[in-house]
Symmetry: D2
Subunit: 268 residues, 4 copies
């Protein structure tokens, strides 16, 4: 009798081929956040029942660029950094579930396969993209994290630019925004392999960081542009009113979540 191991595929006798190792997953990175208000109807149309619009400020959106180094328990990825480093850009809205407010990532692009795989596990709807954000640096022309510093951020996918922002920092702040500040309410879904078979997996899950540390957030304002593309709807979350922009350096641990409901299983 053979058993195979590995947190995800491909599973082998040793488990070391798995595209991702088991959580906990550890992250060091920089977050550039642009918050704004869009038409709440554009948010609502992305919230399948039983999720509802958040009661407070329902049209708030956060578009976040992140520049990460990540690893599992062994930390070996950090020393072969092609396996540790990735960038991502993602759009977060808020929603309400059973009276509680959650954050929810509605679009996300990353630039490595291990990040896609983690997203499948966590319910982040990840595609590949090309993501860039200015990095702070203590010497030369790059900005430091200080008043007046300017950071650029861009996102492209399938050879089209989808978003670009220029953020100017103004002052230290108490947080780096409120839209991405709740536990995440995400769906994990996979269609049945059989035609017309509905969903084989259909879960609403909750997760959040098991631990967060970080530097002083800085707040400022952003010029943000979103662009149309045939297979993307990010630009439907059009900017009605800017809120603020933020820069923060953080360390994060992620270590699993909670199943909120699984309609398919509940029906079985």
């Amino acid at each position: 009798m053979t058993t195979v191991s590995g947190f995800l595929y491909p599973r082998t006798a040793t488990g070391r081929s798995s595209l991702i190792p088991s959580p906990p997953w550890h992250y060091s990175g920089d977050l550039l956040t642009v918050e704004y208000r869009t038409d709440p109807a554009r948010v609502r149309e992305l919230l399948p029942e039983p999720l509802e619009l958040a009661q407070d400020d329902p049209g708030a959106v956060a578009l976040i660029w992140a520049d990460w180094q990540s690893c599992a328990t062994s930390r070996e990825e950090l020393l072969d950094p092609v396996r540790a480093q990735y960038k991502e850009a993602f759009a977060v809205v808020r929603c309400s579930y059973r009276g509680r407010t959650y954050s929810r990532c509605v679009y996300i692009w990353v630039d490595k396969d291990f990040a896609i795989a983690r997203g499948i596990h966590q319910g982040y709807p990840k595609k590949l993209g090309s993501i860039h954000l200015t990095r702070p640096h203590p010497y030369g022309p790059a900005p430091k994290i200080e008043a007046g510093a300017r950071f650029g951020a861009t996102l492209a996918a399938a050879d089209r630019r989808l978003a670009q922002a220029v953020v100017t920092l103004r002052e230290p702040a108490r947080s780096n925004g409120f839209v991405n500040g709740h536990p995440m309410a995400h769906h994990r879904l996979l269609p049945s392999i059989e035609k017309g078979g509905g969903l084989a997996l259909d879960e609403l899950v909750e997760s959040g960081a098991a631990a967060v540390e970080g530097g002083v957030p800085w707040r400022g304002e952003a010029d943000l542009e979103l662009f149309e593309a045939p297979t993307e709807e990010l630009a439907r979350l059009e900017v009605r009113e800017p809120i603020a922009a933020y820069y923060r350096q953080v360390g994060v641990v992620w270590d699993g979540g909670t199943l909120l409901e699984s309609p398919a299983k509940d029906r079985s």
Copy 2:
């Protein structure tokens, strides 16, 4: 009450953001296949129960490079070819399930996100890689599909070369190999979002092409090299005895499969 649509994530009101549209999926492509025998114990260790070694020629392996253009029903991807073209390299073995012989992809690398997403649906354990194979061409120095023609093929991931082959064609053949000629028996799995929660999805599925057309296969021989890497075990399928190599141009339709068993659901 909001509903969202889309075959896969991200799901939206229109469904057009989905990383992949619904099957059927249509493919035009070239297949370079290298078949050889490895130690059957190395195949067996990749077959979780209830799969067993194939009775006939249990150590047979096919390492296949493919250069694809693919699309869904609208065929619009073909006119924005960054969304249609991808390459892949994959290792296939055979196995037995309930007395029937299946093919099974044990490792696979692709170079686009939509191909990863299809693999999640079909049970192919896809990672990102860099894949290259010589293309036949009627003019200039590139080979034609004819006796003596030589084709190269390479695979790399995480900045390491994992495999390379040089194939020399000898003569037309009746097939392009036997290892990848059966229906596929694949697992689809996803761990529970909860720590220690086992598998949330654990399915054994069968699928195969809904339609295949193609040119005359050509047979020849290959020089194949496999290389070690910290997170890969392809090289454990070491070459004990070459069988043959093949080149074939094909058109394929894939349109769903069959659930063979779902232990988790069966237990519930």
Copy 3:
């Protein structure tokens, strides 16, 4: 006394590290050509003296996508195809020099470093880009080279789409256009390493294929769009009047050219 060898840098004792080997260079590839007329003033502003506008049809432009496999005399690149395959998109105009009509590439993007290096030698002003074009295929959904077949082609650089075309083939033709049909008149230039030192290299060179073979060209029409970008001026060559579009498979040999003039050297 040490000598180093190699056609280009880096030069070593063996010469095998050179980014490109010596000509002749051999190419197999497919050419998708879109010809149209723009304002001749937009062409003239790209022609430094002593080049002048072509007398006949001075506003004609060809925007060409090419999908190549290339090699030097040993042909070894073809068997390690990451070193042979590349794609490019380039804009060609015509000009007049000493009463003779030349073609001239005014913008070009490629996706490999060896292609950039060849361009430095040949006077093609190459940048990196992401280039895609539909490939003909005998099976499945991809087009064949026949009446009604449709091919897409796209170009992006620095994460912005710069051009896209959809070409529909109508009938066989006698050529694949006239704009790129003359010897090329290109400048090769390099600024002095010294500030304000002018040009260290400033040559006007002529070159063309040493040999060409190819299939029957097909003609049709194109929908072409050009897009603005901060560091690109391709879109200034705006489409005033479509001419035609073409598809052709070719084999080409390039083996050096002729120095027409070298103002800096002539002055010395």
Copy 4:
């Protein structure tokens, strides 16, 4: 009479399409340096006359990984960071010219086209590669710049890994090495467009930073591995004896150099 402008190609009426703007060029970045001794004969074979081996420690080599953000005078690239950020890995040796000691880059790989173009100007023999190095970060699992911190660095080209290092920091130091500490003596060369025509450009140039600022260098030791590849000779600079490894954050300005000699022009 038309004139075109731009520091490099493509030259246009406005000059804004040039692959690189005029110097000065400004850089913010991190340097990971591994110094060791190789057989001095392996260094000598890379030094064309009139360059000679450095008198002191002639077999010393520095293999340097750098993670840069760069821009020209306008600094606009920093706000569209796909145009500012790049990484490189390069091998530096020392040499003697007219009794003075110079540094000389003998191999270098970068990951952006504007970096290749600057290298053509400065005489760095740049190819494209895939370069990664661990970045220091104040939070989470990534290392800080402190005693015991470990950084990984890797280099690949043409889908083969060429070098990898793991550096462990021990203590602050007075410099980040001595091999790359002199003015650079580089060749700029371009073959004649005419077959057998020798070199059209053949210059020995000197350049160095116009300004440097930086943090405290840290010293430690490295595990360095070099790998063979068909078109690379980096591994010929084999490690005989480790010297030390260094990490330093710097800001640099480059603003031109000096022509030392131009044999072709001198002969004319």
